[in-house]
């Protein structure tokens, strides 16, 4: 589904390299998690997959179902079925949630959205994520709490039905109850859409109590240092990311 080969990414108009020799492969139906300390390039990776304007691919490829994404615009990538639930969702003054979602749905599906079907689906989605339906008429993320913004992201993915979901620090700003609600919605989505995959980006293993990964990757200095299963996340929780350093050094010495 998603294949990233030898990716090198720098901040646009600078020489600052964030990702270097980064490789990752995600198949249909898999849940991957990338963990790592601050400033290691996790969010850059998420944004680069969507073609964020602040980052430039120097070399390497990102492919989605065999299609090279490098030269595609952000909306073209989203239309292919990639969804990024953002760490700090942007507030958009003057654009209501309802207008935004209806437009996005029309753009992604390529057809006119039936108003009755839209209202029925979105009201259910609001109930599912425990958000007040009045928020539909408010400006996108404007005046929302941190938790409401994250729930709004999950609501959008339920409506847009992506093939690949990227969750960038979904757990930040969420209390335990809200985290359970959003993770339940994502798990329900994955049950209904067996081929959908998830890439979770996080500092903390807490989210992994609710979203079970098939693969755990530890990222440092712009690329993946170690890959394992859920036990690797437990190792990090116990020993910190410095513990991974110790393992790396030990491996080198051996």
């Amino acid at each position: 589904m998603l294949v990233i080969k030898d990716l090198k990414v720098k901040v646009s108009d600078t020489d600052k390299v964030i990702l270097d020799n980064f490789n990752l492969s995600i198949n249909e139906g898999e849940v991957h998690v990338i963990m790592g300390p601050n400033g290691t390039g996790k969010s850059t990776l998420a944004k680069t997959i969507l073609g964020h304007y602040k980052f430039e691919v120097e070399c390497g490829d990102i492919e989605f179902y065999g299609k090279k994404l490098n030269s595609l615009s952000t909306d073209e990538r989203a239309k292919l079925g990639i969804f990024l639930a953002m760490q700090d969702p942007t507030e958009i003054e003057g654009v209501s949630n309802s207008e935004f979602l209806r437009t996005a749905l029309g753009e992604v599906s390529g057809s006119k959205v039936n108003l009755y079907e839209f209202i029925t689906a979105i009201e259910k989605a609001y109930d599912d994520v425990s958000l007040n339906k009045d928020m539909l008429h408010r400006f996108v993320n404007k005046g929302f709490s941190g938790g409401e913004k994250k729930k709004n992201e999950v609501l959008q993915l339920k409506m847009l039905k992506p093939k690949l979901i990227i969750l960038d620090e979904l757990d930040s700003g969420l209390d335990v109850d809200s985290l359970k609600i959003v993770c339940k919605n994502i798990n329900d989505y994955l049950k209904e859409n067996k081929k959908a995959s998830v890439l979770i980006i996080t500092h903390y293993p807490r989210i992994l109590d609710y979203l079970k990964p098939d693969y755990v990757h530890i990222m440092k200095n712009g690329n993946i240092k170690q890959t394992g299963d859920l036990s690797l996340a437990s190792f990090v929780e116990k020993n910190g990311y410095d513990g991974i350093n110790a393992v790396e050094e030990r491996d080198l010495n051996e």
Partner: protein, 201 residues
């Protein structure tokens, strides 16, 4: 010149049709006026006098611009305890000039007024725009504030919209609509203006 007077104790809401290019507005004691002024490719001069105590005006100017144009508005707080709030928004579509000159005037010995202005111009191309936000306050004990912004729609906002599959063109239309239209409840009053936004490419 088109003259508008709001008599004592009246409260009015008007839509300016933009047929005239000059407006002279008077608001009398205890009267309030809300103005929605939607314009496309035209220059205007507006003079407002708050003539009686507790008179207030809210003025929403929204323009779509493709030629060299200006908008000049002056609000005179002629007496104490009057209030003005000007919200001037423009979207400059091509490489032309759009200039706002916005004066809030409180003369000597007039007190207890609120004089506010918010001015923004979005340059979608390489247009040269300017804003002169002037607060000419000759007296203490008044509240006056202004803001001025010239730029484009924020890249982060465009990225967010595009990350949901919305094209640059549609995203720009949505943001233009949200930026310029303050009162979608009265769609019929501004249907021509909405048509211009819809035709943006």
């Amino acid at each position: 010149m088109n003259r508008i007077t709001v008599g004592k104790n009246f409260s009015e809401e008007v839509y300016l049709d933009s047929k005239d290019s000059k407006y002279y507005i008077e608001v009398e004691e205890n009267a309030s006026l809300k103005v929605y002024h939607y314009a496309v490719d035209k220059s205007f001069e507006v003079e407002i006098h708050l003539k009686g105590e507790n008179a207030s005006v809210e003025y929403f100017y929204s323009t779509l611009n493709r030629k060299d144009n200006y908008f000049r508005i002056k609000v005179f707080h002629d007496v104490s305890n009057t209030k003005s709030n000007l919200v001037n928004h423009g979207v400059n579509i091509l490489d032309k000039k759009l200039n706002f000159v916005v004066d809030g005037i409180i003369p000597k010995d007039v007190v207890g007024c609120v004089c506010s202005q918010d001015n923004k111009i979005m340059n979608l191309c390489e247009g040269k725009s300017s804003i002169a936000p002037n607060l000419l306050i000759d007296s203490h004990d008044n509240i006056a504030n202004h803001s001025a912004y010239i730029g484009n729609f924020k890249e982060d906002v465009l990225f967010y919209l595009k990350s949901r599959g919305i094209s640059q063109k549609i995203a720009t239309k949505m943001l233009t609509l949200g930026f310029l239209v303050h009162d979608l409840e009265n769609e019929e009053e501004i249907k021509d203006f909405l048509k211009y936004i819809d035709e943006l490419s």
